[in-house]
Subunit: 552 residues, 2 copies
C-alpha cells in the first residue's frame, strides 16, 4: 500500500483555493500510484476557523466541497480533515473529523476525541468529542484514524473513560494515521516527535503523520509531517515551514532506517536550533500574513535600534528587499548613530528608505497644546507625542502607498508596557511580539551568520527609545537579562510572586515587574496580533481581565 | 430558616477587598437572624478570573480566604462561589464550586456541571464538570446546590448523562440555591427568569438565586437576584445594576405573592425597556471601569455628532459632570453646527470643555508628507490624518491630566470599519461599541426623557464624519436602518449570505456589507474593549481569524 502525505498551506475560509490545492495533490498521488492520499486537520477550511464554524453557510460550503473531493476518489482513497455535523442531538453541533472517502463516497469519519481547550485552542467551543471505533479497513489494511491530540493521551486528561492505547493496541492496526494542525512553538517539534514515537511503540504500528504548514494571522504551522516505524523511530520527515508532498510504501517503512532528526536535516550544524526555527517561523509568518491579506509591500520605522533592524531583515527575506520600505523618523533627540545605524540597515538589506524629520509636527503640537498646560514640565506626554507622530506618519505612508505597517514591539516591552499605544505599538502584525529582548539579540546574531545584516553597532550599543535627551532603556527597566528571566518564569511558567522570590530573584525588581505586567494589560489588548513562536504568546492564548488586580 | 442573599460588586483578583465585602455581609446576615448567607458564583475572586486561575499563587490566595471566611461561620452557614482544586487526577485542575461553610469548617462543595464555553465564556478552559450529589442538609432542610447554568439544562446540552431534573425532583429538596455570574445583555433578564421558573416547577421547590452585580472590563453583571416559589413565580427581586442585600424566610416564600416583573419595578412605565436597561448597563460599565482601574476623570472628543454626545451624557451620569472634559477639535472641514452642537452638549450636561483647532497640525503633516507624494490627490490618507491628529491630542490630554479617554465608536461603524484605527478608534473603553447606530438614536431619545440632554439638532441632522467638505455617512454607507438590519442578522443571528438575500435584503448591499465586515476584522482586533450589552458583542465573545476569507 502506497500512501501520499500532502503537507499543504491552506487559507482559512478560502475553500475554493483549498479545494484546488487538494485536487492537485490527489491527481499527483494517483500519478505516483498511491492508494491513499492524506491531508491535514480541517484542511478543507483551514485551521483554526474559529467562529466561522457557527455559520451554516460555512458548513454547507465545506460539505459541498467534501462531495466534490469524493468525486475524485474513483481509484484512490482520501483522508482529510473537515468539520462534520454531529448527528446526535446533544452537545456541540460539530465534530472535528478525519473523513475517509473512496470510490466516490464518504465511507467513514473519525471525530477527534481529545479536544484541546487551552492556550490558543478553543475546540470545546465548537466541537463535541464523540467516541467511536476509529479503525477502518482499506486495501486489506486495518488503519487507526486519529486527529492531532488524540495521540497525546498522557493519563492526565480525561475525555477518554480509559487509556485509549490499551484499546488501540488490542485492535492491532496495520498502521496509524494522524492528521494535525499543530501550531509551531520553538520547543514543540521535539515534544511532537516524542508523542508520536510513544504512540507507535504502544500500539505497535507505524505512524503516518500529516501536519498543516503555513501561517494564519498569529499562528504559524511548521509542517514537519513524518513517518515513524513501529519501533517509534522516524524513518522519513517532510520539509519544515514549506509545502511538501511525499509518497511512502507501507512495506518500505518496515525496513527503512531511521533518519537524522529535523534539527540536523533542516538546520545543519546550527548551534542554536531554537533561534534558527524562530527565524523560519517569523519569515513564514510575515509571508503568509501578506499573501493571505492580499498585500505585497511593507513599511516600517527604522529607529536605528535592534528591533526595527531585525524586523526589516526578516521582512526583506519574506517579501523581497524591493518590497520593504524603511522610514527614518529622527527628532531633535535622535542621536547621530541612530540615523547612521538605520542607514546601515537599509544599505545592508538593500531596502529603500526615506528620512522624515518630525520636529515640525512636534512644534505644531507644542503650539496647540502648550496653552492647555503652560506651566507643566515635560513628561511622558511629550514622549508619547513623538511616538504617536511617528505612528501617524507611518500609517499615512501605509494608507497612501498601500503598504502594510510592520510592528516592531518585542515581548519584553509589551510585557512591561514600555511602548506607546497608537505610537510604536501601531502596525498590522507584531513580528517580534513573542520574542524577549534577549531573544531579539540572539536572532540578530543568527541573521548575521553569513555576513553582516544587522550592523554591529546596533547589537553592541545600549538600547534607547530616544524620546528625551540621553535616555536609555536601563533608566526605566531592569537589565534585560534579569527582566526576561522574570518575565519568562511568570508568563510561560506561571510562577507566583513568592515562587519568583524563592528562585533568588531580587524582590523589589520582581514586585515592580509584576506590577508593570499587570498594569499594561490594557495596552496589549489593543496591540496588533503577535506572531506566536513560544508556548505562551501575548494574544488569544493568554487571557487576562484588564481591570483585575494581580499581585499574587 | 432565614436566608440572606448578598448581591455584591466584586473586583477580579482583589481578594482582600472582596473578603471585606463578604465579611460585612456575613455580619449583617447574622444581625438579621439569618441561618444562611448566600454569595454569587466565584464571588471570592470575581468573575471571570480568566487565566489568573492558572496561577498557583492565585488559587492559594482564594483557599486562604475561604478559610478566613469559614472562621466567621460559627453561628451561620455560608454558601459562596470559589475555585476549588479538582482532587481527581484527571481533566482540568479546578472546579467552579458552590462552597458550603458552617461552624468554622468547609462542609461541602458542589461543582458546576454545565460549564458554558461559548460566546464570552471559556469555562472548559479551566474547570472540570465533575458530577456528584449536590444536595446537603442544613437546619433540617434539604438544599439542592447549583451554580448558574446548572439549571439551564434544556435537553440540548450533554454534559449530563441524563436529564438532571428527573434526578433532582426525586431528591425532593426543600429549596434550590443557585449562585450565578450571569452577564447582562438587554434581552437576558426574561430568559433567566424563565429558566429559573421552569427549574422551580420541575423540581417542585423554591429557588433562591444570587447573581453578581457590577462591571468587569467589558462585561456588565446586572444583579437582579430573586426568589421564586415552587410554582415558579417570582416572589421577590433584588435591585438591578446595584449592590443589594435581603433576607427571606423560607416559610414566607410559601405564602408570598408574586411580584411585578423587573420591567415594572425598575423601569416604571418606560415604553422601551431594552433601551432603559442598556442605559443602566452602560452607566455601570463606565463607573466600574474607572473605579476598578483607579481613575476618576474622563476626557472625550465632542464632534457635534450623536455618538460623542451620548457618551458624554453617560459619562456625566456615571462619573459626575465635574469629572468629564469634552474636547472640541474642529478642522477647516468642520461645520458651524458641529461646533455649536458640541457646545450645546457641554452646556446641557454641565461638563467643562475646551476647543482645540487642529489645522496647524494638519498643515505640519501636509508639509512633512507632501514631498513624498507631490502629485497624489487627497484621499482617505488625509482623512485618517485628521482623525489621528485628534486621537493624538486626546491621548496627550489623557496622559498629561490623568483622565481616561472614552471611545465613541458605535457597533455599526466598528462592523464595517467606518472609523480610523489609532484615530477615533482610540480610547480606554468603547462605551457604544455594542450599540448599532439606530440603537444610539434610541438611547439619545431616552436620555432626553426628562429634559433635553442631547441637542435636538444632533438627533435630526444627517450624520457626518466631516473629514472632507460636505461629507455624509450616507456617501459611504447604506442607510443605517438597512445596514443595522443586515448587521444584526449576520452578527447576532449568524445569517449566511444566501439567507440574508432570501430575507429580501438587497443583494448588492448584502455583499458589500459582508465584505466590509470581513475586511475590518483587523481594525476590531485593535479596538478598545467594548461594553457588552447584546448577546453578541465585538470582543472576546466573537472570534474571527483576521486573514480569513468569509464570503458565505
Amino acid at each position: 500500500m502506497k500512501i501520499a502525505l500532502a503537507q499543504l498551506n491552506f487559507h482559512i475560509g478560502n475553500i475554493g483555493a483549498n479545494f484546488e490545492k487538494i485536487c492537485t495533490a490527489i491527481i499527483r498521488a494517483k500519478a505516483e500510484g498511491a492508494q491513499l492520499a492524506v491531508f491535514s486537520e480541517l484542511a478543507i477550511c483551514g485551521y483554526p476557523p474559529q467562529d466561522l464554524l457557527e455559520f451554516s453557510g460555512f458548513i454547507s460550503a465545506t460539505e459541498g466541497t467534501l462531495q466534490k473531493i469524493a468525486e475524485l476518489t474513483d481509484n484512490i482513497a482520501v483522508l482529510i480533515g473537515a468539520p462534520i455535523k454531529n448527528s446526535k442531538n446533544a452537545g456541540n453541533g460539530l465534530l472535528n473529523s478525519a473523513v475517509v472517502m473512496h470510490q466516490g463516497k464518504i465511507l467513514h469519519h473519525a471525530p477527534k476525541t481529545l479536544l484541546p481547550n487551552y492556550d490558543i485552542f478553543d475546540e470545546r467551543r465548537y466541537f463535541e468529542p464523540i467516541q467511536q471505533n476509529n479503525c477502518i479497513t482499506l486495501d486489506g489494511k486495518k488503519i487507526l484514524l486519529s486527529v492531532c491530540e488524540d495521540l497525546w493521551f498522557d493519563g492526565d486528561k480525561k475525555n477518554y473513560p480509559s487509556n485509549p492505547f490499551e484499546h488501540w493496541s488490542n485492535e492491532k492496526p496495520d498502521l496509524i494515521l494522524n492528521i494535525a494542525a499543530s501550531p509551531f512553538s520553538f520547543e514543540h517539534p521535539e515534544a511532537r516527535k516524542k508523542i508520536l514515537s510513544k504512540a507507535a511503540k504502544l500500539i505497535n504500528a507505524p505512524v503516518f503523520y500529516v501536519n498543516a504548514v503555513g501561517a494564519q494571522t498569529d499562528l504559524v504551522f511548521d509542517g514537519g509531517s513524518m513517518v515513524l516505524n513501529r519501533e517509534g523511530n522516524v524513518v522519513s520527515e517532510l520539509d519544515y515551514f514549506k509545502e511538501d508532498f511525499q509518497c511512502f510504501d507501507l512495506d518500505w517503512v518496515k525496513t527503512a532506517k531511521s533518519v537524522p532528526l529535523e534539527t540536523d536535516l533542516v538546520f545543519g550544524s546550527s548551534p542554536d536550533v531554537h533561534t534558527a526555527r524562530i527565524h523560519k517561523a517569523l519569515v513564514l509568518g510575515i509571508t503568509d500574513y501578506f499573501a493571505k491579506m492580499g498585500f505585497k509591500k511593507a513599511v516600517l520605522g527604522l529607529s536605528g535600534g535592534i528591533d526595527s533592524a531585525v524586523v526589516a531583515a526578516l521582512a526583506a527575506e519574506a517579501l523581497g528587499a524591493e518590497n520593504v520600505l524603511g522610514i527614518l523618523l529622527p527628532s531633535p533627540f535622535s542621536s547621530d548613530h541612530s540615523i547612521s545605524d538605520a542607514l546601515d540597515v537599509s544599505r545592508n538589506l538593500n531596502i529603500s528608505h526615506q528620512t522624515i524629520y518630525i520636529e515640525e509636527a512636534m512644534l505644531a503640537f507644542d503650539s496647540i497644546l502648550k496653552p492647555l498646560w503652560p506651566d507643566a514640565p515635560n513628561d511622558v506626554t511629550e514622549e508619547n507625542i513623538q511616538a504617536r507622530i511617528r505612528g501617524l506618519i507611518l500609517m499615512a505612508i501605509s494608507n497612501k502607498k498601500g503598504h502594510l505597517l510592520l510592528n516592531t514591539t518585542n515581548k519584553s516591552e509589551a510585557a512591561v508596557g514600555y511602548g506607546t499605544l497608537y505610537g510604536d505599538m501601531c502596525g498590522a502584525i507584531a513580528v517580534l511580539g513573542d520574542l524577549y529582548k534577549t531573544q531579539v539579540y540572539n536572532l540578530a546574531h543568527y541573521l548575521n551568520r553569513d555576513g553582516i545584516k544587522i550592523p554591529t553597532n546596533i547589537i553592541t550599543k545600549a538600547p534607547s527609545a530616544e524620546l528625551r535627551p540621553n535616555q536609555k532603556d536601563s533608566d526605566s527597566l531592569p537589565d534585560y537579562e534579569l527582566l526576561d528571566r522574570i518575565l519568562k518564569l511568570r508568563i510561560e511558567h506561571h510562577y507566583s510572586k513568592n515562587e519568583l522570590i524563592t528562585e533568588g530573584l531580587p524582590e523589589s525588581v520582581v514586585l515592580r515587574v509584576l506590577k508593570l505586567l499587570n498594569q499594561s494589560e490594557y495596552k496589549r489588548h489593543q496591540m496588533p496580533p503577535v506572531l506566536r513562536v513560544s508556548s505562551k504568546a501575548f494574544g488569544s492564548g493568554r487571557r487576562f481581565p484588564i481591570v483585575a488586580q494581580n499581585d499574587f
